[in-house]
């Protein structure tokens, strides 16, 4: 098992390097000049030149890139052009917030998705099933930024039950709306997957046999039918969780959540190169890790895979 993990990590390194090259090229192609934004309203060209020299922007692109690689080898991610705060430090401050939101959103998604899916599958073609299917379809189709704004209008402005945004003092009430907004889409997908996977199993012979043997319906459902759904659910959770960890930019903007998605977006907007490079690299690394975790859980869930 450990050899497998090690091999995967080694294979990931060229991917990450590729990510840095592509990002670097993209960044340098971005129109706009970070220095202009840094200097405010009145600055003479001499200062502009001095700042550019200090940031190393007057050197050749390849030199800049190798300089950045060297920085990475030393375990650093550079400092933001605007705030001069080390990128690594900002990521460490903001990533836990993104992680909290991602975990909460995924928890909401799994909880709602499983319930909807199981109900749908067990009470197939009934009113409950139709209703759940519609809700699931809506969940997949609703843009997260719109859903977020609607949730704020209804629950924060009209009803006043929940705060309109921010992270507050860490209380759970601040997590509710953003988690729902972010997790709805995944919930819908999980509901559909659960439903179709369970239906596929529920119609098979061995289920009837189990029932005939006297096992309660609930146990039968949960043990056998749900099991079938686990692998595709895990795949989905992995993909979506990975994208949440990269920072759900839209949710974080609307709900004023201090996460790495918003941080990356601000970096792009301000052409803050170290921030852009740092967050993209971090995001890619997260993607690799999450993929790895998904594959490992496949092996754990499905003994057939393990033997490979």
């Amino acid at each position: 098992m450990y050899k497998y993990i090690l091999r995967r990590v080694l294979v990931a390194i060229p991917t990450l390097l590729g990510v840095t090259i592509v990002t670097f090229v993209l960044m340098k192609s971005l129109p706009g000049n970070p220095v202009e934004a840094m200097i405010g309203e009145r600055a003479d060209p001499q200062v502009v030149e001095e700042i550019r020299a200090q940031l190393g922007m007057d050197r050749h692109v390849v030199v800049q890139y190798t300089g950045y690689l060297w920085l990475l080898c030393r375990g650093e991610l550079g400092r933001s052009y605007f705030t001069n705060v080390p990128v690594a430090r900002s990521l460490m401050q903001k990533f836990p917030n993104t992680l909290r939101l991602a975990v909460a959103a995924m928890a909401v998604a799994v909880a709602i998705g499983l319930v909807l899916g199981v109900v749908s599958a067990v009470k197939r073609d009934s009113l409950a099933d139709r209703f759940s299917t519609i809700v699931a379809s809506l969940g997949i189709s609703t843009p997260v930024f719109w859903l977020g704004l609607i949730l704020i209008i209804v629950f924060a402005n009209w009803l006043g039950w929940l705060p309109a945004g921010g992270m507050g003092d860490g209380r759970l009430s601040f997590l509710v709306l953003p988690a729902i907004a972010l997790g709805t889409r995944s919930a819908a997908y999980i509901a559909r997957i659960t439903r179709s996977a369970m239906i596929e199993v529920l119609s098979q012979d061995y289920i009837r046999t189990a029932r005939a043997k006297g096992l309660s319906t609930l146990r039968v459902n949960l043990r056998h039918a749900l099991r079938n759904a686990l692998i595709p659910i895990v795949t989905l959770v992995g993909v979506d969780f990975g994208s949440y960890l990269n920072g759900a930019v839209l949710t974080e903007t609307i709900f004023r959540w201090d996460g790495i998605g918003r941080y990356a977006m601000d970096g792009i907007a301000g052409r803050d190169y170290p921030v852009i490079l740092g967050t993209v690299l971090f995001g890619a690394a997260v993607f690799v890790v999450v993929n790895l975790m998904v594959d490992v859980s496949y092996a754990w869930l499905d003994p057939k895979v393990r033997r490979r």
């Binding site: 060229p14 991917t15 990450l16 590729g18 990510v19 592509v22 990002t23 993209l26 960044m27 192609s29 971005l30 129109p31 379809s137 809506l138 997949i140 189709s141 609703t142 843009p143 930024f145 719109w146 704004l149 609607i150 704020i152 209008i153 402005n157 997957i193 179709s196 996977a197 596929e200 595709p232 994208s243 990269n246 920072g247 930019v249 839209l250 998605g261 990356a264 977006m265 792009i268 852009i276 967050t279 993209v280 995001g283 890619a284 993607f287 690799v288």
Partner: protein
């Protein structure tokens, strides 16, 4: 296709899509007002009989802007889907069929693309190209082709090993002939399903990019930018946000339902 239409939900969704497309095409004829002309005296009015969806902060009719917004969203989504499908299928076919180093290259590039956070990558590409119509659909296509490529590649690999194809090779068929005559037709159903499911995702992508201010240049009406602009007026004029957002949701829903129906008919086991 006929079997698809037999299901009520799919038929309804298809009807919605036809409606949306018709709106997009006929917008100039059916819109009650000019979407670009504002009258500051009528700013921020709530829905009335003349202005069914109310007016925005420039006094423009929201309904007309929503109708015209359909053009942008559909056009960009379809353009992006066509391009992404072309690139994805080409990559998937070539990689899956040829195998070896070429396949490794295809896998590496698509993995690289998938490793990037998709919205950020789209934002960066749009920013590099300066925003506007072309940048958005190119950005969406460049971000979205990899998923298609992966799926097509998987299918091509399994097809390649099938007895049918082996027989054709044994009979002396050239590679190109095999691909065009045998593999492509078998892959077509999958491609159709994948494409139809992707359009919805591209509508979402386009509206997200316009929401972030990167879409079509102002004062062009796009659904995403309308939701974004309406944000400040959430308390006082919520209709500016509600109606365009609903339009996005309904359109994506319709595409998804049709796509699902197609998938269920062609191969329900596809866990897409």
């Amino acid at each position: 296709m006929r079997r698809v239409l037999k299901r009520k939900s799919a038929a309804a969704a298809l009807a919605v899509l036809v409606l949306v497309s018709a709106t997009a095409i006929l917008a100039p004829l059916i819109a009650p007002f000019d979407p670009l002309e504002g009258n500051l005296d009528e700013a921020r009015m709530s829905p009335t009989r003349t202005h069914l969806f109310g007016t925005d902060e420039q006094g423009r009719d929201v309904l007309s802007r929503v109708l015209f917004g359909a053009r942008v969203s559909l056009l960009i989504a379809i353009a992006a889907t066509v391009l992404a499908t072309l690139i994805g299928c080409a990559a998937g076919l070539v990689g899956g069929y040829v195998g070896g180093k070429v396949d490794m290259a295809v896998v590496a590039i698509s993995d690289l693309t998938l490793a990037f956070p998709s919205l950020l990558l789209a934002v960066a590409i749009t920013a590099v190209m300066g925003g506007g119509f072309h940048s958005v659909f190119l950005a969406l296509a460049l971000v979205g082709w990899a998923t298609i490529a992966r799926l097509v590649r998987g299918l091509v690999i399994s097809l390649r090993e099938s007895e049918y194809i082996m027989a054709a090779r044994a009979a002396g068929c050239g590679h190109l002939r095999i691909v065009i005559r045998h593999i492509l037709p078998n892959a077509l159903p999958l491609i159709v399903v994948v494409t139809s499911l992707r359009v919805g995702a591209f509508v979402l992508g386009e509206s997200s990019l316009s929401f972030l201010g990167l879409g079509l240049k102002p004062p062009a009406p796009t659904w995403g930018s309308m939701v974004s602009l309406g944000r400040d007026y959430l308390h006082s004029a919520p209709w500016m946000t509600v109606f365009p957002g609903a339009a996005i949701a309904i359109t994506i829903l319709a595409f998804n339902v049709v796509g699902d129906a197609l998938r269920d008919e062609i191969d329900p086991r596809l866990k897409l």
